[in-house]
């Protein structure tokens, strides 16, 4: 369904993702503008969650590996949904 080139590009990005998403983020402190707003206004996130994979962490795996596993899972779910849409359109 996806060309080899596309899959290779996605795989390379996935392999690189923990460098930026986990290692550098921890070293330099991950912070986005929304966090600055939350700090100023004293907002805090609700504690509840519905997934064991919150924030791209897999329980029991090191963060960098969990991040990659989550990336692969997300790509597979999107490809599966794309596949279903394709099958529906062809009908």
């Amino acid at each position: 369904m996806l060309s080899r080139k596309t899959l290779l590009t996605i795989f390379i990005l996935l392999a690189l993702s923990p460098i930026f998403g986990v290692i550098l983020a921890e070293k330099l402190g991950y912070h986005e503008p929304l966090d600055l707003v939350a700090e100023e206004l004293g907002l805090s996130e609700f504690e509840f969650t519905w997934t064991p994979l919150k924030d791209y962490v897999v329980p029991g795996l090191p963060d960098w590996l969990g991040y990659m596993v989550c990336g692969i899972l997300g790509v597979l779910v999107i490809m599966f949904i794309g596949f279903i849409i394709k099958a529906m359109v062809r009908r």
Partner: protein, 206 residues
């Protein structure tokens, strides 16, 4: 820019959800009207959705207190058109929210509205207008990426501002995203220019 649960007031969360559902329905109607066009673009839709999901995981922390990653709204709008683009961003944001709790369930309407609807439509429209006027792909896609992120950030700030009766989120979100948008513009421009050179057929109007 993914708003978590607890950051938006219930009225803002509700109104943004309704608006988003309305736009998603329009988008589904628009793309279902031409099954042939959809069938042609569906593989590209899947590839780009997966690509944007992964690209959003590559966050680049900037020393001094912020970080950036591609949002991709302008990019996808330019490459597969606004309606499929909106649906692609909605798919990515839903997967991020439901499986990885990236963005809150109560804020899903606002998140899709900011990054999916405004990000895609603004990017697409800016690209179209500037391209018609200048015929320069790199310039049109750069401005599209830049303004798409700046407007998405502004909208996010407005939602937070209304929720907490404060103007601070509007200034902070708009200013930061206007600056970070320059990098969104550079990435959008590089990818679109590359694709136009490599396989011009992908982009409908070339």
């Amino acid at each position: 820019m993914h708003i978590p649960d607890g950051y938006l007031s219930p009225p803002v969360a509700g109104i943004t959800l309704l608006l988003t559902l309305g736009v998603l329905l329009i988008a589904i109607r628009k793309i279902s009207s031409s099954k042939e066009a959809l069938s042609e673009k569906i593989s590209l839709f899947t590839a780009l959705s997966a690509g944007i999901f992964v690209a959003q995981m590559i966050a680049w922390p900037i020393p001094g207190g912020t970080s950036l990653h591609l949002i991709g709204g302008a990019l996808i709008g330019i490459l597969i058109g606004p309606w499929l683009g909106i649906l692609s961003m909605a798919l990515v944001l839903l997967v991020q929210c439901l499986i990885f709790h990236d963005g809150g369930l109560t804020a899903i309407g606002a998140n899709i509205l900011n990054m999916g609807v405004i990000g895609v439509l603004a990017g697409y429209m800016v690209f179209k207008i500037v391209y018609r006027a200048t015929r320069k792909v790199w310039l049109s896609s750069f401005l599209a990426g830049w303004l798409s992120l700046a407007l998405a950030g502004l909208m996010c700030g407005i939602e937070l501002g209304i929720s907490w009766s404060s103007t601070l989120p509007i200034y902070v979100m708009a200013l930061w995203h206007t600056v970070l948008g320059l990098i969104e513009g550079l990435i959008t421009s590089s990818v679109v220019s590359y694709i136009v050179i490599k396989s011009p057929k992908i982009v409908g109007w070339f």
